[in-house]
Assembly symmetry: C2
Homo-oligomer: 734 residues x 2
Amino acid sequence: MAQASAKPNRNPAPDLVSTEKFNHLESIAVNFSRRDAETTNLVLRTVRCLIADLCEQFKGGHPGSAMGMAAIGVALWKYVMRYSPENPNFFNRDRFVLSNGHTCLWQYTFMHLVGYKSMTLDQLKSYHSTRTDSICPGHPEIEIDGIEVTTGPLGQGIANAVGLAMATKHLAATYNRPGFNLVSNTTWCMVGDACLQEGVALEAISLAGHWKLDNLIVIYDNNQITCDGSVDLANTEDANAKMAASGWEVLEVADGNDNVEAIVAALVAARSSKSGKPVFVNIKTTIGVGSRIAGDARAHGAAFGPQEVANIKETAGFNPENSFVIPDTVYDFFSDVKGHGWQLENDWAELVAAYGEEHLDLASEFALRVKGEFTEDWTQIVPAKENFPATPTASRKSAGLVCNPLAARLKTLMVGTADLTPSVNMVWKGKVDFQHPNLRPSCGITGDYTGRYIHWGVREHAMAAISNGLAAFNKGTILPVTSSFFMFYLYAAPAVRMGALQRLQAIHIATHDSIGTGEDGPTHQPIELAALYRAMPNLLYIRPADSEETAGAFVAALSALDMPTIISLSRQSLPQYPDHSSRDGVLQGAYIFIEQHNADVTLIGVGSEMRFAVRAREILRDRFGLAARIVSFPCQRLFERQPREYKTRVLRYREGIPRVVIEAYAANGWERYADAGYSMSSFGHSLPGEAAYKYFGYEENLIASRISEFVSEVKRSGIDSIRGEFRDLNIRDH
Amino acid sequence: MAQASAKPNRNPAPDLVSTEKFNHLESIAVNFSRRDAETTNLVLRTVRCLIADLCEQFKGGHPGSAMGMAAIGVALWKYVMRYSPENPNFFNRDRFVLSNGHTCLWQYTFMHLVGYKSMTLDQLKSYHSTRTDSICPGHPEIEIDGIEVTTGPLGQGIANAVGLAMATKHLAATYNRPGFNLVSNTTWCMVGDACLQEGVALEAISLAGHWKLDNLIVIYDNNQITCDGSVDLANTEDANAKMAASGWEVLEVADGNDNVEAIVAALVAARSSKSGKPVFVNIKTTIGVGSRIAGDARAHGAAFGPQEVANIKETAGFNPENSFVIPDTVYDFFSDVKGHGWQLENDWAELVAAYGEEHLDLASEFALRVKGEFTEDWTQIVPAKENFPATPTASRKSAGLVCNPLAARLKTLMVGTADLTPSVNMVWKGKVDFQHPNLRPSCGITGDYTGRYIHWGVREHAMAAISNGLAAFNKGTILPVTSSFFMFYLYAAPAVRMGALQRLQAIHIATHDSIGTGEDGPTHQPIELAALYRAMPNLLYIRPADSEETAGAFVAALSALDMPTIISLSRQSLPQYPDHSSRDGVLQGAYIFIEQHNADVTLIGVGSEMRFAVRAREILRDRFGLAARIVSFPCQRLFERQPREYKTRVLRYREGIPRVVIEAYAANGWERYADAGYSMSSFGHSLPGEAAYKYFGYEENLIASRISEFVSEVKRSGIDSIRGEFRDLNIRDH
């Protein structure tokens, strides 16, 4: 997605601009007339036939819900939403999220009708085609103008929408001043029956209610059908009562198929509600309305077939011989939308200009935020190596030493934790919680929407998914920092993946990252999780070995504007290596930690297991007369980016020196860089950290002894004898 | 966990045994006396001091909630639960799940007091110690007598409990007959504030309400504290109203700290409720009750320190000089529990015996189920190679061909889908849905508790977590088969992991497993997910290449009694290779698919990408004059189990033949078996399957050409020149 930009100030306002101008669309809704009703009926029929045609051409797609939601689409794109089709990135636009992303053809169709330039009819026809230039993929993708977030995996979108609404609340509280509602957009989110079943959605719903995000409106396409058939097959709860219990206002529309006026009225009521709560608009629709399989699951995920498409068109009063028909009346109907958009942009530009005169400093800071730039030079804030304690330090503590001053000074950062404040060290002096201002002051709970510390509760998945929304509001405006135990980033993984797929910058602070985490046992000891994140495209997984490397991890994360970073940290204290460790080395993924001429072996040390490499090196020298060099290898992806010459020089594998990686994880993936591994091949064990290491053979004498045997074999049989067959040196398998 | 066994029939019953005998504990509760109240007070004080001592000795653990839940513990283990401490695996025992697993010391303590043989005071003292023989790990583990499931990652336990309750409902509906309530146990589950925030718990709660599991009682330790402090920081919803909206009955206890009688009354009411719903018992407690930081988050996850522990003891009327004190009165108080257990076992044995006389066939089948044995020889049900169509077949269809007859005939199998019935082909003829019998017959929705087809809704995580409960009810009695798109096993991953950690057999049918899934796009195309499951201990991740290999995958999965299996399947049609593919080969993980003497290169084909290997081989021969052999490699873990001689023979890497793996996944992990890979290094793209393959360079001529270049280099420079540096041959990186 291109960098958002505020429109240039085309018409400087002579005096203060009131927010009243934003309300013009309300009057349109109120003036909804009989004529409109007739035209909208044509629009509905047109949209449904078009969707049926588009799915039919390549025999696939999801037509049913898209047809059922036609009237909701008219209400949103014609009457209710505030946006500018010709400037999809207008900063104060309403955000729209299609959580039921498989119905994307519906969104593409309305984007075409209201005049998003790139969304031509020709493009609509590329849906499900083999065209690689298509901007109509099977699920909405953030790279497309007018799409706020990529959706598809159910439940993610509604969580993203919570993040988008939070971003508005936060920016509004930070920058709006009396008479200047600079940030005042509404977030709209469409969900289907399925989204409301997913855990991540339920977590996000709880949080939106807790934070009283009254700028968030979730529209429920209640067609009571999922792939398997009736929703009753798997869900018979009282959705409205559940939403109300979660702190939401609930509105209902009985006829969502055709009654555009009722939908508009409900959506306008939702936006203007004074309940101070997010609003859930439950709209009853019929899947595949207009077809003979209306209300049936068969209308969900397949084309109708030529006969039924012909029938749909005939029933709708269209000639079944013709396809992709959009009458001029339909285009005319939406023709005023562009103008409304220009007016919105213009009004906002005037408002921003006037704000600039009244609130000079805030305005220039706001301008930087809009541009997606940091408001301070963070390179000056990251502590220098000499500022770290030389005594053993847990890398989770190092992360606090680096991140706390960043969080204190960079307004871009919103830092939160999935209920592990005492463990993850992310609290900075003077932090204010992101909370509704009237939450529970009587109980000593403080905070307001300007707050940048987020208590996510025990909701790792929503934490990451909502953070994607924060990051997607306008790239660079908010940089979310999440935190939890590394193991629980498995709960968050589907959302971390969506962040990587969308190239959204985020920093995930993942502490307690090895068996060294100790007593909590195998449920809390990640063995295999790094294999996932090292394989995941567009993501940095970094395991720093000490404070200096932790600083490097933050530099990498802050510099990676188009991807999330996981910084993987120890619970336990780690020795510091100021003479060897290097933040610049981290940026190269791997680097020479201790060089050694005439080396017999290269030890690859990683994160909290670096200490075993360093100690084993000494024992190899003193007890076995072997010379070992050490490579620190905090990040495979960063290393992959280096030129071959660098890789060769660091790993020296072409010189016949065998390489052994030492890490208390499954070896999977290290085979690319090492000939042997001292690794884990089972789950962990509940023991104090040091004892857990010992239990699994992580003890320097044992490690050195196994490595010396391996090196002897290499010396005896030649390096080529051991290449092509990765060797597992850890025999303490439980 | 040892295999469960029904007690031998010590006292054959002369006539039909009524279920009345099971109710003796109800009368105990009703007769709760003043004397009991005094003794229970001593018990509460003892338990709290003991927990404070046990955390203090090694300066760690979670004392606060364990102390707050003392009265609940007395109510459960002394008065309400039906179990036999001396036979922890008594088949019809009540199941207890500690979803807030960090409070495990509480459970261990009561297990000690009621007389679980292995849970000695000495063992209690091993909590957080370095003793490797400890059965008191930091979270409860299934391997310990009396622990039903491993818990710790929040939200998992309550989902497991739903599975345990389902298992009871299903077995009861299948085997109970009038007068013979063979399976009649209750499932109890303890949750804290945090569990109720996790998405997986919320999904499971919806399902339990939907299925009206009135044999499930969830006890909410409502202390309103999590790590960060007050629950109000992150959760202000109306928990009771939310549970009621989800179809649960709600009961409350105001004083959960001390009023054992009120708790017993509530729990007895919950069990005897006629609401036909699962019951949520909301019990108000105080974290760290009895200490000076009662009600504070500081009591949550750390020892109190010696001074406060002394104060706790003094306040409780104990001598602060003494530690780990358990007065005889306390042991005496629980001394009747063993007897009740014997009686329960005896009654049940009599009941089973009488049942055997009345219902001969059912009884012998039931006996097999209790033993955890299949009721039929499944090896006779798996279709033979010649029964598969020779025409191109999607492996998801092959999976249906194999699994449908298994599901039809093996009562052990409970097969379900996360709302993808039309896609995953798991429906067999005559399948009955697992549903409450009175669900919605008027809407044509049928099913009852005997049903073995489960509509999970769009809840992948709960599907896997609840399935762990089904599998844990009694190992081998129920074999859950789940299904969804492979990509959504990322949502399910935390529960799949818990299944692997607990060595619970399950089969996960993961369809749409590569970019070949097509139009749904990158959100649905798994690139990196296999890296996780290939690295996960105790789990088989199998990607079959055709129907025969799919049969092999099922044979492997059914044979793997102590681990879950993911069978990874294509959406798209795949060529069949009856002359090459082998189910026995699958069991070895990898095998020679096409041998070739004087081979220039070994191609490793995997799953749906086997066709590229086969075609590339032909092009290499015809266009480049190169001889290629092919290894099919469906499962890395199974291959790892083979002797080195077999590995060498299959891969022939010691003969200087370079190996190239062809798979449309990230290469991570293949470096162990291959010298080069034709792999993915980015996320996928929304295009029809075949076009998506082309877009990413999966086209036989291109593949052959790149491989021939690689082979030429090897011939030119020698095999050793390319070893030690994995080569990525796919240059179509997007």
